[in-house]
């Protein structure tokens, strides 16, 4: 069983290194990763999620405009009647903001989980497994075969 997840950097953000690392880690953990790359619009996230019946959408944003860029994403997903788990991570606000405030703000927007820039790819993998109800053995198997 393969689990498809969508990954991308939203808006006009071009920070590519984080998703390159994430893609590689998710892939090694056995996920089927669709990496949309940087500077990806909301519509592209929604399109890709719908097209591949993805179980999760992972939105990355580093440059500080995440709030503006993500505004409306969950409504667009709802319109297409899909309900993937949605994660957002990176440097989500401009400046030296406190992560708790940011987390609340993005949870209110509909994200299931909000990650800061100290997030290790392993944290995302553990969360995905829990949220998508993947058994430990699934992953161990996939890890061996990868």
């Amino acid at each position: 069983m393969t689990t498809t997840v969508i990954l991308g950097v939203i808006g006009s953000d071009a920070h590519a290194v984080g998703i390159t690392i994430l893609e590689q880690a998710l892939d090694a953990a056995g996920f089927d990763v669709r990496n949309l790359g940087v500077q990806t619009g909301q519509d592209e996230f929604v399109e890709a999620a719908a097209a591949s019946d993805a179980e999760a959408v992972l939105v990355s944003s580093l440059y500080g405009h995440a709030e503006r860029d993500c505004d409306g994403l969950h409504e667009a997903l709802a319109e297409r009647e899909i309900e993937p788990a949605t994660y957002v991570g990176g440097n989500l606000a401009v400046g030296q903001a406190d992560h708790e405030t940011i987390r609340e703000r993005f949870e209110r927007m509909g994200f299931d989980r909000v990650f800061d820039a100290e997030t290790d790819p392993e944290d995302a993998i553990v969360a995905l497994k829990r949220d998508l109800g993947l058994a430990e053995t699934d992953t161990e198997r996939s890890r061996v075969s990868s």
Binding site: S12, A16, V17, I21, V38, Q39, H65, N91, A93, A117
Partner: protein
């Protein structure tokens, strides 16, 4: 088809009119009147002269906030409390995308709520007069720093607005900064930016241009950065730019960084035509920072020590808050002062590192191979050749998000922490050079008892933020 030739005056005028009609504030640009404004500025605000006549590395931070009065206050703080020699104005991301409408909304928001939702100064929206208010308010020269692939309107407005230095270039502000921009198009667009600087230069206003050396900021092998710098320098020189600052971002290995800065200077002077004054700028670590100010200070200090030894003309400083987000003005000033103290303690010492010459030779040879490959691919035309070279992968940048680059090159550190190339893709490096890289990385792989692999790259990307230089496997792996 874009070639490396000077834009005809008629073309310059045509493009100029078209560019200025993109957004209402473009209409306020008047070249003659702008020359007069520049002429009215005191010597202390002439960027090129201040930079070129300095006898020790000048320090410059990065900084940009949406509102004009806040930007003035911020720059004053960096000058007075940080001791910055040269000031920056960093442009917001919407402006970089030419989304002046969104930038305007952000500016409105900032003015109304007092909260900054833009990550920089929207210079196009502030317009010529807004820029001049900024130039007038500060005592030091100010550079426009941005990351805008199509920076034509930004250049037209900020040059007229009194800025005498402008960062970026067709490769360095495309390949690391965008996904879908076509390289031929950005080269053409930057010909205007450079030609306009050339036009000011002919009238005695020597606008300084600074290609962005760090590229993706992440384990960029020196030869790649240097090749891109020299190429952008050549393109700018063709358009009449006469003050060019080539850049390089710290990789964290003392010997390699010192060697790379020497190589950058010597190749810049070799390849750029004589009337151009070449200066070099060193960027403190541009990759992922440690999530801890105390540890970040060590990264900044290592960069400052490198600068003291290699003596670039300018150093772009980082703040200890780099990891978390745009820094407070206090943290930004602190980064400047840490850098200054370290440079001033080391500068008078005669510190010579063994092995710099060997590394310098390797970097020069490799850079030359890449530059010649680009020139050769265009049958002598560096614009055409560069486009070809990026298409075929003969030139490439690691972690490049752009579809205009292969993005096939993968770097990793060797056993001494120098950045080498693990995957070459189609990079135009000779077998000799490739073998050196192979051998160095094999040595590391055997030290670590593991295969050369992407895991090594990922470990190296995180290493400095994890507190070390080389991403060795830790016990737990």
């Amino acid at each position: 088809m874009v070639t490396d030739e000077r834009l005809a005056d008629a073309d310059l005028r045509r493009i100029d009119e078209q560019v200025r009609s993109d957004w209402p504030t473009g209409a306020d640009v008047d070249f003659e009147e702008a020359i007069a404004f520049h002429e009215s500025l005191p010597d202390s605000k002439r960027f090129a002269e201040v930079l070129e006549s300095a006898d020790a590395p000048l320090l410059q931070p990065r900084a940009g906030v949406p509102r004009l009065d806040d930007q003035i206050e911020l720059l004053r703080h960096l000058q007075n409390e940080g001791g910055a020699d040269l000031l920056p104005t960093t442009i917001d991301s919407y402006t970089r995308d030419n989304e002046y409408g969104k930038a305007g909304d952000g500016l409105e928001d900032a003015r109304e709520t007092g909260e900054d939702t833009l990550n920089g100064f929207p210079a196009v929206n502030h317009g010529v007069e807004g820029c001049r208010d900024l130039i007038r308010a500060l005592d030091a020269p100010i550079e426009v720093r941005h990351g805008t692939p199509d920076a034509r309107l930004l250049a037209a407005i900020t040059y007229a607005g009194g800025f005498q230095s402008f960062e970026g270039g067709p490769i360095s502000y495309n390949i690391p900064y965008t996904k879908e921009r076509d390289l031929a198009t950005t080269i053409e667009q930057w010909q205007y930016v450079d030609r306009l600087a050339g036009a000011y230069t002919e009238r005695g206003v020597r606008i300084n241009r600074e290609p962005f050396g760090p590229l993706t900021g992440t384990l960029v092998p020196p030869c790649i950065a240097i090749a891109v710098m020299v190429i952008e320098g050549m393109l700018a020189a063709t358009q009449g730019v006469r003050s060019i600052t080539l850049g390089y971002g710290q990789v964290g290995n003392f010997v390699q960084d010192v060697a790379a800065l020497h190589a950058l200077r010597s190749l810049g002077e070799e390849y750029l035509p004589d009337p151009v004054r070449v200066t070099i700028v060193f960027h403190e670590w541009m990759g992922g920072f440690p999530p801890d100010e105390a540890r970040a200070n060590a990264v900044i200090s290592l960069g400052a020590a490198t600068a003291a030894i290699a003596e670039p003309d300018k150093v772009i400083t980082k703040s200890p808050q780099e990891f978390a987000g745009v820094p407070t003005q206090e943290a930004n000033a602190a980064g400047l002062r840490t850098t200054r103290q370290l440079i001033d303690m080391l500068l008078e010492q005669n510190v010579q590192l063994e092995g710099v010459d060997r590394e310098l030779n390797l970097i020069q040879k490799s850079s030359r191979e890449l530059i010649e490959a680009a020139i050769g691919a265009g049958d002598g035309d560096v614009a055409q050749g560069t486009i070809q070279a990026f298409e075929t992968g003969a030139l490439d940048v690691p972690f490049a998000p752009s579809e205009s680059a292969q993005g096939a090159v993968l770097p990793a550190r060797d056993d001494d922490g120098r950045v080498r190339i693990l995957e070459f893709g189609d990079l135009a490096l000779s077998e000799d050079v490739q073998e050196i890289h192979h051998n160095r990385l094999d040595a590391r792989a055997s030290t670590e008892g593991r295969e050369r692999s992407f895991k090594m790259v990922a470990d190296d990307v995180d290493a400095i933020s994890d507190g070390r230089l080389i991403g060795r496997p830790t016990g737990g792996d």
